[in-house]
């Protein structure tokens, strides 16, 4: 029965293979078939995830275990991947992106993510991370005719490999000092930082650096805006949410014993706090200067990493998961609206392009406004409640100054999110931004995100209870 622990991952991998094979052998009209296969496999994986709840399945001698945290994150990945497939149905043919390849790579990346979150062994995590990375490098470059997309892929590949090297080097040192590669090895080796061998500390530092690269927190975020902006919009949705969610989950598992531990806290607590504050301010201040909407949202994605780090610092598992879910809905929603814009040839809509959108497309503009308000953390949206939970828990654990920094960073973010709203509602249209109509799948995604943002902002009751109960034993 334990082999069932592999079932959700297997379902996704099977879907990936099916999509790639359909694409390869049926040629021409197989795009829809590949997408269907992808959605079906995601659906199956979703069912399997639900079925595994509370069963505590494990495989590889516990190195792959479906604990509630892993299952919740898997559900998020499946949701996001489904959104991406649905968004791509109309987007891919329009921008000459191969839909079958997109679906296949997307599912492979998802499988990598699922492996990452369900392990507490560095080697398995690294395995998942590499599966994810290879697939996402290709995903970023799928829009072959667009130079920005190729640039994104190259940059992502170079920086990703660089980060991967740091990670491996750190792992090697860690293994050399302790002979073990479980997360617990670090935490159990000693209560005080003095008790950790210097080499182990250095190894851990390298590992964290590698992870920080992957989740794009400052000062390791330089690659992110270009990659997020250059990738095809549905892929951007995936890249801004899913790898980050997995990275934060790993960080939470690794760091929370170190940060809450009495001795190590003195080293890791302040260090990560500084990184968090730096990330929020760099992301938000840079976003303030952008004129292209997609790039602005790319920087906003970096800023949100900073808020998520606050949850990691306070060891607040439920808050982190709730924030990630809320963030998945609002960020996917915002980018989904961007995917509906089809400017001719330009890499992305600028603020001037969206001017007057409120008059010409009232519903679309209203949805984007709501997503932006949620990202800014204004009640009664999911974004507000997510910030409320994360920040209030951080204050309860004594990180008052960090939270003050976080809310001030949010204030900056309000300024640029509202810049987009200003353009849509308070300025007259200058150029004719054409909007893709009659894309029901995209509308469905926007609607679901809208629903999620409002539902989680007003009545998140059941989900919160589920998360809190699931993680009660873990964090």
């Amino acid at each position: 029965m334990a082999v069932l622990a592999l079932a959700p991952i297997a379902a996704v991998v099977a879907g990936a293979l099916a999509a790639l094979l359909l694409e390869a052998f049926l040629k021409k009209k197989a795009h829809e078939a590949a997408a269907t296969a992808a959605v079906l496999s995601l659906f199956a994986a979703g069912l399997l995830v639900v079925r595994s709840w509370n069963l505590d399945l494990a495989y590889f001698g516990g190195r792959l275990s479906l604990d509630p945290l892993a299952l919740l994150l898997m559900a998020v990945f499946i949701l996001v991947a489904t959104f991406v497939v649905l968004m791509s149905l109309g987007y891919a043919p329009r921008r000459d992106v191969n839909l079958g390849q997109l679906c296949g790579l997307l599912l492979l990346a998802t499988a990598g993510l699922m492996i990452m979150v369900s392990s507490t062994d560095w080697l398995v995590v690294f395995l998942g991370l590499e599966v994810l990375s290879v697939a996402s490098y290709a995903l970023a470059g799928l829009e072959r005719r667009d130079r920005a997309s190729s640039e994104a892929a190259a940059k992502y590949f170079l920086m990703g490999s660089f980060a991967g090297a740091f990670l491996v080097f750190g792992l090697a040192i860690l293994f050399g000092t302790s002979g073990r590669l479980e997360f617990a090895a670090i935490a159990s080796s000693g209560p005080a930082p003095a008790a950790l061998p210097l080499a182990a500390l250095a190894g851990l530092g390298l590992i964290l650096t590698g992870l920080f690269f992957k989740i794009a927190v400052a000062p390791f975020h330089m690659w992110a805006p270009d990659v997020y902006e250059g990738s095809p919009t549905p892929v951007t949705v995936f890249l801004t949410i899913a790898p980050k969610a997995a990275g934060f989950t790993v960080l939470l598992r690794v760091l929370s014993p170190l940060i809450t531990g009495s001795g190590t806290a003195a080293v890791f607590g302040p260090a990560v706090s500084v990184v968090a504050a730096l990330t929020m301010f760099t992301g938000n201040l840079a976003a303030l200067r952008q004129t292209r909407v997609k790039r602005m949202l790319a920087y906003s994605a970096i800023a949100h990493s900073g808020y998520l780090l606050v949850a990691v610092i306070s060891g607040d598992g439920p808050g982190l998961v709730f924030y990630l879910i809320a963030y998945a809905f609002m960020n996917a929603g915002a980018f989904a609206v961007l995917a509906a814009f089809s400017p001719n040839g330009t890499p992305g809509a600028s603020l001037a392009d969206v001017a007057g959108l409120g008059r010409r497309h009232p519903w679309l503009a209203a949805c984007l406004s709501l997503f932006l308000l949620s990202l800014a953390g204004i009640p009664p949206t999911a974004g507000f409640l997510a910030k409320f939970y994360v920040f209030s828990e951080a204050v309860a654990r004594g990180h008052v100054l960090l939270v003050v920094a976080a809310v001030m960073a949010s204030l900056i973010s309000v300024a640029y999110y509202l810049k987009i709203v200003v353009a849509m509602y308070m300025q007259e249209p200058k150029s004719g931004l054409s909007i893709e109509r009659g894309d029901p799948a995209l509308s469905l995604v926007i609607f679901l995100c809208l629903f999620g943002v409002l539902e989680l902002g007003l009545w998140p009751g059941n989900l919160l209870t589920l998360i809190r109960q699931g993680l009660a034993g873990l964090f």
Partner: protein
């Protein structure tokens, strides 16, 4: 009849009826502005009628929140908990009374995107009323922040030339304060949990478990900043002239009449009850800022060339008086402040409506462009004069009652400040009457200008109710003050004698406050 009303969740109805109307409006065809306007006016009118039922059923002898409705919402103390006491009752009525008038006043002024305008106005009404009825700090914050959004759109879409600058400044200033208040809420939430072991953000619970003085200082400062920006207290007032001048008439009316009151209300509802020692400690400093605001606002008003910014600076001055009265921390002053909040809402609302009526005719707000208007618009000039005299505190009108009460209270607290504060009476008489003379009297600027016709029936329907109410409140203040007495007394009493009360009445209360002190020192 009364039993039927008693069974209804009246506060919820009054709060969310406008929101329901806004949702319904989203599905009305936007190419028929008449329907949209009619629906919006009906909904806000019904809301006002429902709020009258609250007034009728309100028991003035009780100081506790009435019409309380409570339901579990998010768990862990984040409940849906609404109710009204004597402090909130009339502010709810003020909001419910002015929204339909503001909507009616913009029937000709707003012709572009009428549907969106009406939706935002109704959402704003829900936000305003929600702030006043919340009995839970979380709910209070949700309404407080959510209300920014419709006001942001109202100024930004239908405002004047510099509307985008004004609306961004308004939002960022307000959010700066309220985000720090949010951190304060987190701290209270955590402190209460540590002290008692249970989660609560119910305002009554929090007030019953006083925090250690050291913590109070920081928290009071965080809350006071949010409220002082909203009031606005000098020197945090700079957003106000911009927002007021650029906002459309209806927006200015609600901004001045209701939104500014939220700051003062915040001090009364949260600042004083939750942090009594800190409030007493900072009262002198805040009083001095208030006095500076009174004089500065008055002098600035004298110097304005634009009618709207004149009224805006007069607001700074009048709100300064209200804040000075609040910080005098005695019964007369606080009751006077509360009464003056209503007066300022009505008289400044009326003044903005008057300026709007003139602007609709001539499309200029510069005082120098007017002269001799009284000859063409006798009815209007009479009502304008009434609104001014009410604002200046002429005996027989509402402003007089409020100011006298405020001065009595301020005088017992600090004679020097009282003497300085009296300048508000002189200054406001000066800038308002001078304004009247320049606009209404003298020769007509342009004798052939036939745009200056007198008020039509719609405009009368907007202005007359406000003026009638100012007269009523000037002649029969007792009817209103009596309903406030108990709640104001409780706020003040709590400030003076809380530790003793807690010790004699509730031994457990003492234990919790001890526990709070212990955890406070650990922090």
């Amino acid at each position: 009849m009364s039993t039927i009303i008693a069974g209804l969740p009246l506060v919820t109805i009054v709060t969310f009826l406008p929101l329901a109307g806004a949702l319904a409006l989203a599905f009305v065809r936007s190419d028929s502005p008449r329907t949209v306007r009619a629906v919006a006016l009906t909904v806000s009118g019904l809301t006002f009628l429902a709020s009258l039922a609250l007034l009728a059923g309100f028991n003035g002898s009780s100081s506790l929140p009435q019409f309380v409705e409570r339901a579990s919402w998010l768990g862990r103390g984040l409940d849906y908990h609404v109710g009204l006491d004597g402090i909130s009752l009339f502010l709810v009525l003020l909001a419910a009374f002015l929204t339909p008038l503001a909507l009616l006043s913009s029937w000709r002024a707003i012709e572009d995107r009428v549907k969106e305008f009406s939706i935002f106005m109704l959402v704003l009404e829900t936000g305003m009323i929600g702030v006043f009825v919340s009995q839970n700090l979380f709910l209070f914050y949700v309404f407080w922040e959510a209300m920014l959004v419709p006001m942001y759109f109202l100024i930004g879409i239908w405002g004047g030339r510099r509307r985008i600058y004004a609306t961004m400044k308004f939002v960022l200033f307000t959010m700066f304060g309220s985000l720090l208040m949010l951190v304060g809420i987190f701290v209270i939430y955590a402190a209460y949990h540590r002290a008692t072991g249970s989660f609560s953000l119910t305002i009554g619970d929090l007030a019953a478990a006083p925090l250690p003085p050291g913590l109070q200082t920081w928290l009071f400062l965080a809350f006071a900043l949010a409220f002082a920006i909203k009031v606005p207290l000098f020197p945090l007032h700079t957003w106000l002239p911009d927002a007021h001048v650029e906002a459309p008439t209806a927006g200015s009316v609600l901004l001045a009449a209701v939104l500014l009151k939220m700051g003062a209300y915040g001090f009364l509802r949260l600042g004083i009850p939750l942090f009594p020692q800190a409030a007493a400690r900072f009262a002198p400093a805040l009083s001095i800022l208030a006095v500076i605001g009174i004089i500065y606002g008055g002098l600035m008003a004298l110097a304005q060339k634009d009618m709207k910014s004149l009224v805006a600076y007069s607001s700074v001055s009048h709100m300064g008086l209200i804040m000075l009265a609040v910080f005098s921390l005695n019964f007369e002053a606080v009751e006077g402040a509360l009464y003056q909040m209503l007066n300022h809402g009505l008289s400044t609302g009326a003044l903005f409506l008057c300026v709007g009526i003139l602007y609709e005719r001539t499309h200029t707000r510069l005082i120098a462009d007017y002269g001799g208007v009284a000859a063409r618009m006798p009815v209007f000039s009479g009502l304008f004069l009434m609104a001014m005299l009410s604002s200046a505190g002429l005996p027989g009108l509402n402003g007089f009652v409020g100011e006298i009460l405020c001065f009595f209270g301020i005088f017992t607290a600090n004679k020097v400040l009282a003497a300085l504060a009296v300048s508000t009476a002189i200054l406001s008489a000066a800038y308002l009457l001078w304004l009247y003379r320049r606009v209404m009297n003298g020769p007509l600027k342009d004798p052939d200008d036939d745009r200056l016709r007198d008020l039509d029936r719609r405009e009368l329907a907007v202005l007359v109710p406000v003026i009638v109410l100012t007269v009523f409140m000037g002649l029969f203040p007792g009817t209103i003050l009596r309903k406030m007495d108990a709640s104001v007394a409780r706020t003040i009493e709590a400030l003076r004698t809380r530790p003793a009360v807690a010790a004699t009445m509730n031994p457990a209360g003492l234990a919790t406050s001890e526990a709070a002190r212990v955890t406070g020192s650990e922090r």
